[in-house]
Amino acid sequence: MTLLNPASLPRNPAISFISGGDRTIRRRLFLSRVFAWACRTATYASLAVLVVLLAAIIWSSIGRLAFDFVSNTNSSDPTKAGILAGIWGSFWLILFTALFSVPVGVGSAVYLEEIARDNFFVRVIKTNLSNLAGVPSIVYGILGYTVFRSSAAVLKVWFDGQHAFNIMGLFRIRLLKLPIYEDNILVGALTLTLVVLPTVIAAAQEALRSVPSSIRMASLALGATRWQTIWRQVIPAALPGISTGVILSTSRVVGEAAPLIMLGALTITTMVPGNIDSPLKLITRPMQVLHAPLDQFTAMPIEIYDWSRQTDSQFTAVAASGIIVLLMVLLTINAAAMIVRHYASRRLKW
């Protein structure tokens, strides 16, 4: 397999051109220059596409993008349709996805990097993770539909029927009043957790790997146990990397539509989860905050999908405005990740 072992250069037919060949030097240099330009064009084409994409979207959004676009919910009238329901749906989804995926993802990474020995079971987990990362997100949607949504349907029957949960009188009354939906935020967030988990684990592993082993050795040599070493030394040292990686990988959730549509998330709705349509209500309406995770939802990419396929061409501007809001949210999250990395890594130097 030593195709290009330097020791075998003169005999290797793959590089016979070096001894002259039939081409003149001038032709070879010309070819080289053409190739350089071709590669440069290929690279800058990506930049051009990005610019054209953004320009096309901004240009299409003219006519709808105004403040009432983010304060209105969806409507069949393109001049009134807004993305408020989608913004709140995406907010709850990313909140719960982060709550589920960060502990599990970081825990798995810590296990694989710090605790696991190289045995059969660990190799199975690692191979499995790399394969899971390549599974299309829509397949997770099928899993979510069959497992999580069905479980939610069972719960719905449980709560809606005669058997209300009877943990202290107070809870029973409240739970009876909560309408539970089978396509709720929690079901969506659990599904999205499975989608992002392989990426979160990989990002956290990367961060843990960059902590020098001398830190671990020193801690263990001073008598700390393995868990004390991990919890007091390794994780704090890896925290900037972990948080940046985890924020970036969970931000994918904001753009994911396929698994949510598979779950049966609403495409056309004016409803905001828990009826919380302003940040103030997060504080003033605690019961509605409790209700929101069990409420139906839509999300920004789902609404954009729905507007894109409308035949009424006025919806093009609505979809483009939705895309601008979505990209702004992604930009904010990524900027936050950059800021976290910048400030957190200033303290640590080795």
Binding site: A36, A38, A56, V110, G134, I138, V139
Partner: protein
């Protein structure tokens, strides 16, 4: 020298059981991924191949041979239903092949340019551009294909040569999916290209090679296994790509290889079926699992093949 005062936790005794318990909890987290895979396979198999109990699985009602060779896809309940996956497979393959035609030259060219030609500062500017492109959600590309590429670029182009392009067409879907996977190919290939040792390049330059010779005949062959693995990963990503092809490719399931027409892909059908309102046990709903198992098997096979090529044909240098 003042004696160091140890913090309280340092002198606290930690029980062995406590330590073991935490390790077990972490192991459980890691094992969750295996459970996920098992659950995916179980869910797909119990709905597509064999269903326990009174429920009938998809392949208990439609023979697997008809499914794999049928030329008509009409997923409706009752007598009129036809369940041949060939039309969906045609759509998926067309999108993936067009995407590869776009992304392989663009991605490999970008990888070679960034590792062999670009100055460090230029590279630091180009890398984030590709990352931004990779971070744009799929629906956005779907919109871009349907509302910009088709009416403003492809339509005028094809009408000048007298060909009729439909509003929903596989070509625009393939092009945007190609754009989406280009950063993947570029970054994976660049990693392997950069790991080719410098001494090989210097030896070739010393023998009078041009940059073209070095890139194409030394660096790329040396990194070939990694580059091929990147191509395969990108292909499998294109096969599983959903929202962009659903928006741009349309919902007509017809067995065609004409990229100017619309064609439903496997993923497009799955989205379409779940926005409809058929009951959970109906065969039209169960067909989602059958298509899902085909999609899962395809992407998994390509991914495993990619990993195998990477390991089997890797050039190792000291």
């Amino acid at each position: 020298m003042t004696p160091v005062k140890l913090p309280a936790w340092a002198s606290r005794r930690v029980s062995r059981r406590h330590e073991k318990l935490i390790q077990a909890a972490l192991l459980l987290c890691a094992a969750l991924s295996v459970l996920t895979t098992a659950a995916i396979i179980l869910v797909l198999l119990t709905n597509a191949v064999y269903a326990p109990g009174a429920k009938m699985a998809f392949f208990e009602r439609v023979s697997m041979w008809d499914f794999l060779t049928g030329l008509h896809w009409k997923p409706v309940d009752g007598e009129a239903g036809r369940f041949g996956i060939i039309p969906l497979l045609c759509g998926t393959m067309m999108v993936a092949v067009i995407a590869s035609l776009v992304s392989v030259p663009a991605g490999l060219g970008a990888a070679i340019y960034m590792s062999e030609y670009a100055a460090p500062r230029e590279r630091e500017f180009l890398k984030p551009v590709l990352e931004v492109l990779a971070g744009i959600p799929s629906v956005v590309f779907g919109f871009f294909a349907l509302k910009f590429i088709t009416p403003w670029i492809l339509k005028p182009l094809f009408s000048t040569i007298g060909l009729n392009l439909q509003i929903f067409n596989t070509l625009s879907a393939g092009i945007v999916v190609g754009i989406m996977v280009t950063p993947l190919i570029a970054s994976l290939s660049e990693d392997v290209i950069r790991s080719v040792p410098r001494s090989l390049r210097e030896a070739a330059f010393a023998l009078g090679s041009t940059r073209f010779d070095v890139s194409v005949r030394i660096v790329v062959p040396a990194a070939l296994s990694g580059i091929l693995a990147a191509f395969l990963l990108a292909f499998s990503r294109a096969v599983g790509e959903t929202m962009a092809v659903t928006i741009a490719g349309g919902q007509q399931a017809i067995a065609t290889l004409n990229p100017l027409q619309g064609a439903q892909t496997m993923t497009g059908f799955m989205v379409h079926a779940s926005t409809g309102d058929s009951s959970a046990d109906s065969i039209s709903r169960m067909s989602v699992y059958a298509v899902g198992i085909a999609l899962f098997a395809m992407t998994l096979t390509i991914n495993i093949l990619s990993g195998w090529i990477l390991r089997r044909y890797r050039e190792v240098y000291q």
